[in-house]
Amino acid sequence: MSDIFFHITISHFLILAAVLFAIGMVGVLVRRNALIVMMSIEIMLTAGILTILAFARLHGDMGGHAFALVLIAIAAAEAAVGLAIIVAVFRSKRHVDLERLHHLRD
């Protein structure tokens, strides 16, 4: 049993990433503020990168690092566009409350 604590394996990283992802998911699900939701999404993306790097380590394959780089770039792009959308929404609605933003319904 103590092995779980003292012998850190790739599994530890993977499970940590899963937990991070889940926390991010909960954030996305329950928060009303679009900004916090964006942050939660960033957490989820980070968890994804962590998983990729862990597997890269497991398989000794540097391709994972290349994809982690791609993911970081995508995260940056996503943050930029997402925040721009939030700003635009805020300008027209004066709020960024997801509960009240239900234009997808129409």
Binding site: M25, L29, L98, L101, H103, L104
Partner: protein, 771 residues
């Protein structure tokens, strides 16, 4: 394509180009230019036809006559039109003696009628369209005639039907004319459907549709040896193709469209519904003579229908009062003669009559056009009379045509009709009823008598006696312009002399070197399946003499009855007493149209109405159109609530859905099968459907029920120490989740040799459990 080959395609291409020019840009061109294009293209086509026939084909023909070459024919393959599976259809044209004669008729008569049309249609507002259609018709007819195989012929077959439709309904402003066009089209469609079926059947039987191949021994053998419903396939194919011919050639029962087709302009009646298109059926039967030769049954049907049609429509023609209607029924009757001829295997006689008929019937129609023109558009012969002096040129030519159609020596109709009568009289084949040929001959002779009577009835009513027209019409009567009369005179001259290309084969004439030119010309292209009975010169002369006497007496009767208008005695005879009723039936065309209305159209309309109400309104509109819309509407109303615009709830739904997929995907279906191979020895096979989880999966077997693994692997065999029931458990650990799952079953192990075949039987339901 051989460069030295004569350009057969030009014969078709030139009128087609004329049609394209006239139809596409004709409206913007001057009338003069349209006329030049319209007439010129056909004239050029005629010139090409003549030069090819007189050049290469004649050379081959003379060589064949001298015994140096095989049968004369030229072929030109443009390209492969359809190639799929065994079916290979070339777009090819074939010019042999038969199609050369037909092409010559089409282009020459067509040319004369184009010239006539220039004069006749000079006031027509849609002048260019008219010439475009006429050119298109000429091109289509040439495709029909020159096609090397049935599908190419069928292109022309359909295209002439289209042109016929367009030209019958040319003055579509009148409802009646448009209806007539539609009737022609629909009736022809019935025949065309049978034609297509016939083609399919032929392809099924012989694997080819090319005329050249039908002449080959292989196709001949197939046609004779493949049987369907007790008859060789040639019979069925022949009948189907002949139904198509019935439509086009206006034979019973599909002739009803032709009298109505007189609604079109008169030159159209002349070329399409007199001279060329309606003879397509006769031509087709002659073209397929190699197939019809394989079936005397089909030929008997063809001949019988032809003869009955000939007499039937000749009788109807006796009592018609409209000039063009008489000519229309006359055409049906004469076509009946031709069909009988090809039916009894007298192909040369049939084609010969086709040739002479093309001239005199075109001439009759053109004269009728000239007369109707003079009579201010009325075709009622009861209102005519005394036109001999007023229309001298028309009168002369009309008389020539009448003599020809009545079969008076030495006009062309005499020779060709006589050939047909001799052919019918001498025809006999295996399986035919006794005296069938003689019966046909009798029908045709009666029809010939009727022919002579009705045509001279028309002649005397129109040209002799006093004019019965009203004053206004009388004042307007005038001879037609030269562009109209010139073609008439040319046709009349041809009619007068054309008969001599087919001088009967009489011993004493052949002795002095006078042969039957047309027979020699056509013999290589047709093959008769019927060997005519021997007939002596005297017999032939007696047939000739008989029909001549009959015709002359019919003419004299007509003269007696109609020379000064309808004689009072006849008037009394047809208006009172028992004969009045007969006259009424005949003049009302035996009520065939009404009969069709009753037995075909009414039920059809009822069916259509029923289909409309049930299938269209209910099944399609309600069930298939409104129904799905309603269902979608209802489902949408229910599902719309789900779409509330809250992205977070969408995400929650996605999460739940993917969890469900994950759950289902991670439950592999496991089971096993077993088979007893020897006493006590049973093999087991694991059946696992675990998807990706099968990788690195483990399978354990427990045969003893003690919880210990006795074997591993998907396929194992185990030796049981004793017979009886054993509980066997298979355990499976999937490669992804690493979880164990097990399934167990009680099997019965048989010890005895004899139970080996039965194998181990299942006992009880399979029990699955998960750990």
């Amino acid at each position: 394509m051989d460069a030295t080959q004569p350009p057969i395609y030009l014969i078709i291409l030139l009128p087609l180009l004329g049609a394209v020019v006239n139809l596409v840009v004709g409206r913007k061109l001057s009338r003069r230019f349209v006329s030049v294009v319209g007439v010129g293209s056909v004239a050029a086509s005629l010139a090409v036809t003549v030069s090819i026939i007189a050049g290469p084909l004649w050379a081959q023909y003379t060589a064949a006559q001298a015994g140096e070459a095989a049968s004369p024919w030229l072929q030109q393959t443009l390209y492969t039109w359809i190639e799929t599976g065994d079916l290979r259809i070339e777009l090819a044209f074939r010019l042999d003696t038969l199609s050369a004669l037909m092409a010559l008729i089409v282009t020459f008569v067509g040319f004369l009628i184009h010239v006539y049309s220039v004069g006749y249609m000079h006031d027509e507002p849609r002048y260019a369209a008219y010439f475009g259609y006429l050119n298109l018709f000429t091109a289509s007819m040439l495709v029909l005639v020159l096609g090397e195989n049935l599908p190419v012929m069928f292109i022309g077959w359909e295209a002439v039907g289209l042109c016929s439709y367009l030209l019958i309904g040319f003055w579509f402003e009148k409802e009646k004319n448009a209806d007539a066009g539609r009737k022609a089209f629909v009736v022809n469609r019935i025949g065309d459907f049978a034609f297509i079926l016939g083609m399919c059947l032929l392809f099924y039987a012989t694997g080819t549709l090319s005329f050249a191949d039908f002449q080959g021994p292989e196709a001949q053998r197939n046609l004779l040896e493949i049987f369907m419903w007790g008859e060789p396939v040639a019979t069925w194919a022949g009948i189907l193709l002949f139904i198509g011919a019935c439509g086009k050639t206006a034979q019973i029962p599909l002739y009803v469209w032709l009298p109505d087709a007189m609604a079109g302009p008169t030159p159209v009646s002349a070329i399409i519904h007199g001279a060329t298109m309606v003879t397509a059926g006769v031509y087709m039967v002659a073209r397929m003579s190699y197939m019809y030769a394989s079936s005397t049954t089909a030929m008997a049907i063809v001949a019988g229908i032809g003869a009955v049609t000939a007499l039937f429509s000749a009788i109807i023609a006796l009592a018609q009062s409209d000039l063009k209607k008489v000519l229309a029924y006359s055409t049906v009757s004469q076509l009946g003669f031709m069909v009988t001829a090809v039916g009894v295997g007298a192909y040369v006689a049939g084609i010969f009559h086709l040739l002479t008929h093309a001239f005199f019937k075109a001439g009759l129609f053109l004269c009728a056009g000239s007369i109707i023109h003079a009579m201010s558009g009325s075709g009622d012969i009861m209102k005519m009379g005394g036109l001999r002096k007023r229309l001298p040129l028309t009168h002369i030519s009309f008389l020539a045509f009448c003599l020809a159609i009545a079969g008076i020596f030495p006009f062309s109709g005499f020779f060709s009709k006589d050939e047909i009568l001799v052919g019918a009289l001498t025809a006999d084949a295996d399986g035919w009823w006794m005296y069938y040929g003689e019966f046909l001959w009798l029908l045709l002779t009666l029809a010939a008598a009727c022919t002579a009577f009705y045509i001279f009835r028309v002649y005397f009513l129109v040209f002799s006696g006093e004019s019965r027209a009203d004053a206004a019409t009388q004042a307007h009567i005038h001879e037609s312009p030269p562009l109209v009369t010139l073609p008439l005179l040319v046709l009349a001259a041809c009619t007068a002399v054309l008969g001599f290309v087919g001088i009967p084969k009489l011993g004493f004439l052949q002795d002095i070197g006078v042969g039957n030119a047309i027979s020699a010309w056509l013999d290589s292209s047709v093959r008769s399946g019927i060997v005519p009975m021997e007939i002596t010169d005297g017999g032939k002369l007696r047939v000739m003499g008989l029909v001549l006497v009959v015709a002359i007496s019919a003419v004299l009767t007509a003269r007696a009855l109609y020379a000064r208008g309808v004689s009072p005695r006849l008037e009394a005879w047809t208006s009172r007493g028992p004969w009045a009723r007969v006259h009424k039936v005949v003049s009302d065309k035996f009520y065939v149209d009404e009969l069709y209305e009753l037995i075909v159209l009414r039920p059809f309309r009822a069916l259509a109405r029923g289909l409309f109400v049930f299938v269209d309104r209910f099944v399609i509109d309600t069930v298939f159109v409104a129904g799905p819309a309603k269902v979608v509407d209802l489902v949408g109303a229910a599902v719309r609530k789900v779409q509330n615009g809250q992205v977070q709830r969408y995400l929650a739904a996605i999460l739940v859905g993917s969890a469900a997929i994950f759950f289902l995907a991670s439950r592999p279906a496991i089971s096993f099968e077993h088979e007893q191979v020897e006493p006590y020895e049973v093999t087991f096979e694991a059946m696992v459907d675990a998807g990706p989880a099968s990788v690195d999966a483990e399978i354990e077997w427990d045969f003893l029920g003690d919880g210990e693994a006795d074997a591993t692997g998907p396929e194992v065999s185990h030796r049981f120490s004793r017979s009886g029931e054993h509980e066997v458990t298979m355990r499976f650990r999937d490669g992804v989740f690493g979880r164990w799952r097990s399934v167990s079953r009680t099997i019965e192990v048989a010890a005895q040799e004899e139970s080996q075949g039965a194998g181990a039987r299942d006992r009880g339901a399979e029990r699955g459990s998960r750990q």
